[in-house]
């Protein structure tokens, strides 16, 4: 029996209660929105990119604890990264939640993902995977410079 605390780890609950970078970004030059029509969760991501580096990132919107915490921690994780690094982190996070293997992430992966590995518990809750990945899809879209809102459907 998996404990509900493996999903709602204290880090996640903390970011849900006090989301970081929950704001507009001054001088933002990339934006994207994510929408989950299933639950109505909406998230908007803004980025300021200079010299190929994410100098600032913020998000706005409303959603469940998983999606809010995921958005908050995403902003902390990508700030200061190069575009290529941020994109790679999106891929790693995506794999962490949707990968076929249920094995624990390797040491390398853990190092790259850092605190984001707290979301590995979401894998056990298929109905909630989209909650965690929504903001990352919006980030991915913003990094690619696409303007259309992304949808989880």
């Amino acid at each position: 029996m998996s404990d509900i605390r493996e999903l709602y780890q204290s880090v996640i609950l903390d970011h849900n209660k006090r989301p970081r970078n929950f704001r507009k970004v001054d001088g933002a030059n990339r934006r994207a929105e994510g929408y989950n029509p299933l639950c109505g969760d909406k998230v908007a991501v803004q980025l300021r990119i200079e010299d190929g580096v994410v100098r600032d990132v913020g998000f706005e919107g409303s959603g469940c604890a998983i999606s809010t915490a995921s958005a908050s921690m995403m902003t902390e994780s990508v700030k200061g990264r190069s575009l290529a690094d941020a994109e790679q982190l999106f891929q790693r996070f995506h794999d962490l939640l949707t990968g076929e293997t249920h094995a624990e992430p390797s040491v390398d992966e853990q190092a790259a993902l850092g605190k984001l590995t707290v979301f590995s518990g979401v894998r056990e809750y298929p109905a909630r995977v989209k909650c965690a990945t929504l903001v990352w899809h919006a980030l991915h879209s913003a990094l690619e410079g696409r303007a259309d809102p992304v949808s989880t459907e």
């Binding site: 029996m1 998996s2 709602y8 639950c39 604890a65 909650c131």
Partner: protein, 409 residues
């Protein structure tokens, strides 16, 4: 009338209820407004049909075809009796409520709604009683108007009366709201509409399992419901239409079974109700629905209504005592739905934690986004009751909400 339900014994009729879920908890099924569970009688009827009678209907001369035709038409008669319709030909089998509403919109609506006309609905409708009318209005250049609801989730009847204007061609309204549980005074509403010469469609999807319906007593022009919310199979439902209206309406889908004769020059249509049933229908589903109706009638709708009303009152009191919980939808008359939000916790998180405790509820906008907007919430958690639910299960829900509060301290 049977006035007291033996719920413990009735639960034995539903095999699915007796299971332990993956987290080691017994199932507490409180998502009956989404779909109800099926009694063994219905499940057996489906098996028996496929094992013994399966054949296409209305055309075969062989014995199996005659048997399945008889069973299918017998099911129609059961629906007729269940709704109090005057004649079986007033009952059209559909895939469900959604398809029934679309049928009326595409057939009655297209013929009777013109540019500048109005279709009236209410602010508590399910998307399936909004979108078909939006599509019609868009096509015709007509206007969709909406009767508001108050803070309790009751219709504002004065506004309804005001909005029934000279251009109103149809009023489409839920008997019971899926998101709020409000029971609308449909009889009174239909009377108001008919005084102005406006036809009325009643969406009975959330009503038929909880209250006795008599379409002639109500006086409605159209009434529709889904089998799967009435302990029957999915993929089958019914539309009742007054015969003079159905007679005048054009078919909406063409195909086999809905014709009298076909040449490349001209097709003449079959008689009611077959002109609205193109193609091979869900024969087993209709038969299963007939059995579900018999089952519900054997339990007794008055006894069901009395029991559920008492259980709803118990659950309402219980939820009122849970810190941080606020009920959405406190109409004067309600049926079997408890929509709520919990302060500081998104409904999805409530749903996931309750699921861990073995409690199945629905979370989200319940296909009623305008209702969510009206109450300024992104979503709600919804527990919805059937007669097989018990006080113990309500207590489990309350305990589960305690667990939610613990996690989201």
């Amino acid at each position: 009338m049977k006035d007291k339900l033996d719920v413990k014994r009735l639960r034995e009729d539903f095999p699915i209820l007796h299971q332990t879920l993956q987290h080691g908890r017994p199932l507490v099924y409180l998502d009956n407004a989404a779909t109800t569970q099926k009694p063994r009688a219905v499940i057996n009827a489906l098996v028996r049909y496929y094992e013994r009678d399966n054949a296409n209907i209305h055309r075969g001369v062989h014995e199996l075809s005659q048997r399945s035709t008889a069973a299918f038409e017998d099911a129609r008669t059961k629906v007729q009796g269940f709704l109090g319709a005057a004649h079986p030909s007033e009952i059209v089998f559909t895939r469900g409520t959604t398809e029934a509403i679309n049928l009326v919109a595409q057939s009655f609506g297209r013929a009777n709604v013109d540019s500048g006309d109005e279709v009236l609905i209410s602010a508590m409708e399910h998307h399936s009683n909004i979108v078909p009318w939006q599509m019609l209005c868009e096509e015709k250049g007509a206007r969709l108007r909406v009767v508001p609801i108050d803070d309790r989730g009751d219709l504002v009847l004065d506004e309804l009366s005001r909005l029934l204007g000279p251009r109103t061609k149809l009023l489409a309204i839920a008997h019971v709201s899926n998101a709020l549980g409000t029971v609308n005074p449909v009889r009174e509403i239909i009377e108001l509409a008919h005084e102005r010469g406006v036809a009325v469609l009643v969406d009975g999807a959330q009503a038929v399992a909880h209250t006795r319906v008599d379409v002639r007593d109500l006086g409605c022009d159209f009434y529709c419901f889904s089998g799967h919310k009435l302990y029957g199979p999915t993929g089958i439902g019914a539309l009742y239409g007054r015969s003079e209206l159905l007679e005048a309406m054009a078919p909406w889908q063409g195909g086999g079974d809905m014709i009298a004769s076909v040449t490349f020059e001209k097709t003449t249509y079959n008689v009611l109700p077959h002109k609205f049933e193109a193609g091979t229908p869900h024969i087993a589903g209709a038969i299963g629905l007939g059995v579900a109706i018999e089952y519900v009638q054997s339990v007794g709708l008055d006894a069901i209504a009395a029991y559920e009303s008492e259980l709803l009152a118990y659950a309402t009191r219980a939820l009122a005592g849970v810190p941080r919980v606020r009920l959405i939808g406190t109409a004067r008359q309600k049926a079997s739905v408890l929509s709520f939000v919990m302060q500081g916790v998104h409904p999805h998180d409530v749903g996931t934690i309750l699921d861990q405790e073995g409690i199945a509820i629905r979370t989200g906008h319940h296909c009623a986004q305008p209702v969510m907007d009206r109450f300024d919430v992104p979503a709600t958690a919804r527990a919805s009751l059937a007669f097989y639910n018990t006080r113990d299960e309500i207590d489990a829900l309350v305990a589960g909400l305690g667990r939610v509060a613990e996690v989201f301290a």
